[in-house]
């Protein structure tokens, strides 16, 4: 695991009715996460964070959820990555870190493959580890080649 420079907790709410299987849920715009390079991602369930910062109940099961992350060149850097594999609590505490890439959060999305154990108004939490663009061009340059 690489040292974490910055982290930001983001939330995707399922809405007043649970989306059907196959539905894509896009992320809202977080100004702090514009022009950043992602270095790692965690997806958290209720065992790690029971209530989201907005007061919503966090999902208890991640097995029917995948994550797709799009970079600023509209390329899929992660495609349908199983969310449960990004939960450090069931991966012996490790988080997945990536070769940094410039994230385009508003085009990235979560896919619901199975609605089992999901309830309306629950939220999925993602902890994004990142460095800002200027920092990426200096400290991460060797890794970006």
């Amino acid at each position: 695991m690489k040292p974490i420079k910055n982290s930001y907790l983001i939330e995707v709410n399922l809405g007043s009715t649970v989306p059907g299987a196959g539905a894509n849920l896009t992320f809202q715009d977080y100004p702090q996460l514009r022009n950043i390079y992602v270095t790692g991602v965690e997806v958290l369930d209720s065992s790690t964070c029971a209530i989201s910062p907005s007061g919503r109940t966090v999902v208890s099961v991640l097995s029917g959820i995948t994550l797709t992350l799009i970079d600023k060149f509209n390329q899929e850097q992660l495609k349908q990555y199983p969310a449960v594999d990004l939960n450090p609590e069931v991966r012996s505490g490790f988080y997945r870190d990536f070769v940094p890439f410039p994230l385009q959060l508003t085009k990235s999305f979560i896919t619901i493959l199975s609605t089992a154990s999901l309830s309306a108004n629950q939220s999925i939490l993602l902890n994004i580890f990142y460095v800002n663009e200027a920092e990426a061009k200096t400290t991460l340059r060797p890794r970006l080649k």
Binding site: P3, S47, T48, A50, I51, E89, G93, N127
Partner: protein, 181 residues
């Protein structure tokens, strides 16, 4: 520390406690901010790890604090004792079976007053993980979270999400160990 994937070595560790609330009527109010006490030793220091001290069996931490507080096995200190100031582990944050670390978020600012950790779940800093059979364990290998930033402890704070109304032990204290260089 290399075994843990963190290639930044700490030279000191310091434990800092944050008292969450004094009034029981405040314990169900979401998004309250509880700032760290003034800790000038940490300001501007390069933080390489933050440990949220938690355990499973201590209920009344007021009575155990400073006396029988458990020593956590999975700290950097135990693996990297050279030049490290050893601190006893902190008191528990489990109250009557309710793990309040699942309801606590940590926000940290750096020396430029930029948020470097925003709503970081404290449970993720506690070393609690599920084993293959689904039981929570404190991982003996110590999967610490490696960080790399300079901290401004004065502006950093712990916040609570809602729904911690079951916590009735006063005063709850969130205990962090900062490893720095």
């Amino acid at each position: 520390m290399e075994n843990y994937g963190n290639n930044i070595e700490c030279i000191k560790a310091l434990r800092v406690n944050v008292q969450l609330y004094e009034d029981i009527t405040l314990n169900n109010k979401p998004n309250f901010r509880y700032y760290f006490p003034e800790t000038p030793e940490l300001n501007g220091k390069n933080i390489v790890n933050i440990k949220f001290n938690a355990g499973a069996n201590i209920i009344d931490q007021v009575s155990v604090y400073g006396s029988t507080a458990i020593d956590l096995p999975n700290t950097i200190i135990s693996e990297n004792s050279k030049g490290v100031v050893q601190q006893p582990a902190g008191p528990d944050v489990t109250f009557g079976g309710i793990d309040i670390d699942k309801y606590l978020l940590l926000t940290v600012y750096n020396e430029k007053n930029q948020q470097v950790l925003s709503n970081y779940p404290c449970h993720d800093l506690a070393g609690y993980f599920r084993d293959e059979s689904g039981f929570f364990v404190i991982d003996s290998l110590g999967k610490i979270r490696p960080f790399d930033f300079k901290i401004n402890i004065r502006n950093s704070f712990v916040s609570t999400t809602s729904d911690i109304s079951l916590l009735t032990v006063l005063p709850p204290i969130a205990c962090f160990t900062f490893y720095y260089k």
